[in-house]
Symmetry: C2
Subunit: 339 residues, 2 copies
Amino acid sequence: MKRPALSMVVLVLAGSLTLAALALAQTDPLPSWNNGPAKKAIVEFVQATTTQGAPQFVPPAERIATFDQDGTLWVEHPMYSQVMYCLERVPAVVKAKPELAEVEPFKTVMSGNREAMAKLSKQDLEKILVATLTGMSTDEFRGQAKKWLDIARDPRWKKPFTELTYLPMQEVMKYMRANGYKTYIVTGGGQDFVRVYSEEVYGVPPEQVVGSAGGTKYGYDKSGKPFLTKEPRLILNDDKAGKPEGIHLMIGRRPRAAFGNSAGDKEMLEYTKAGDGARLAMLVLHDDGTREYAYGPAKGLRASKVGTFPQSLYDQAGKQGWVVISMKNDWKQIFSFDK
Amino acid sequence: MKRPALSMVVLVLAGSLTLAALALAQTDPLPSWNNGPAKKAIVEFVQATTTQGAPQFVPPAERIATFDQDGTLWVEHPMYSQVMYCLERVPAVVKAKPELAEVEPFKTVMSGNREAMAKLSKQDLEKILVATLTGMSTDEFRGQAKKWLDIARDPRWKKPFTELTYLPMQEVMKYMRANGYKTYIVTGGGQDFVRVYSEEVYGVPPEQVVGSAGGTKYGYDKSGKPFLTKEPRLILNDDKAGKPEGIHLMIGRRPRAAFGNSAGDKEMLEYTKAGDGARLAMLVLHDDGTREYAYGPAKGLRASKVGTFPQSLYDQAGKQGWVVISMKNDWKQIFSFDK
């Protein structure tokens, strides 16, 4: 056997060195995650679906990842931020229509009695939602919501709601986008509400927010300028079975990956997992009563009105290969402002 | 005054040469367009909105352009392709449900009598649409439509409908995408139908198709696998005022540019033009009876059931600064298969 020429040895060595340098340069895309099955599942899924020539490779156009918002991307306790918006918007509505001051449920909300407000029925809440989310132009609504988001503070952390996003999930979204995935928010919350801040807070443009949506009505102002009025007519109830239905309506493709945290996300995760090839379904489990909140199926966790995570969902995750994310064990850091 | 150093002269000369070389290297992005006001309007709009530092610069995230389909991107005569699909799908529907063979309007369609079919009422057509576009799973529908598109031929050119797209408009879409615009189809046609071929034919992915849309219903097959059934329940009638309403629902941003060809596009063009900063609104005028069809407002053009372009729309275009595209004068070549 002939000895390889020196120049060839040099080339091979140089090649190995370059690869080693590249490997070192690759920083951890998920630094807020502890090493464990959840982090491993995400990294393996992204690598398997984006490595050219790999058996599970997914063409860039088909890389769709959907994320529930409340409880999956940001805090949903003690109340959905949008419900808080609607309640805090009531005084402005009553100021514009003083006759509402003596009418329920507005009277209770105006009283400021938190105990009484907590007892409002679903029908009462619906009346408040209609009064605060419809009847104005889409531009007016945007302005009202923006203003509130700037000044409103979460009762526990005393920070803007938009800072209460989970750093590990922000990392997942960025990591997936860096690998050609289009990231969508698929929320039971109001599409128009989430679109006000989605780009700034999550890097998700309005056209990639799918949420519960009401109809609008086209019309003209006195100067003949056209505008859209928000109507109290529900087009899409983007929760439970409404999530895959909304995904079909707004995206038209089955997601490759989906992330949720409650019974409202069950159908979205099933639908995602039922597709061909590599699919990733993940559930955020709120089991960290110290750093965030603990609620859901684990023993001793307190029941909750929001973010329902029944034992049956936990069991289904096990059976269908969904990966449960333990906030307590999988997340090194929860908020960007954490030390 | 000191004479400039030789090195500076050389630098300035080299700079000019580089610019000249760049200008030469820039090939015409719209080769199928004749030089004229329409081509000029498109090029000036794109340059004004995408040149960093220009007063009308639009950030990439806000670059949204919407295109009507029938009559704007492809031929709509003698009948919308999707209506032809529905009529030609009737035999398969009757085969599956033989009792329909003796029921109107299916009996007339089965007779093959084109004169009688042309007289079907709007209500009859709706029955045919419901029977051929709903009741099956979204995957089944996709398969049926794909199969038809492969074999169906336009009666005049004897070519697949998907080849009857206007080359000049394909060039506009590519040119805008090359300059950071997201191109959307906003069609009165069925969203699910157009999404079957939009990516292959126009380079527009399903999630950038906004069209008339029915609801779907989530359910499970016998093996427990989830699927969506197309329901005869209209969620979005994406025509006339429904176009800006659909744009708000599905995109959540006002377009910067919009292209249409009929009264069904009036509100989309108004809505687009009413936004701040540079906006482009264009109308395709079918005035080429030789190479395509002639219909609409110009004297001597024959009336048409589809693609209604009343004189009032033509007048509005003039008043509101919309640019009318004359197929006859502005388009050097209409189809890619033209010599």
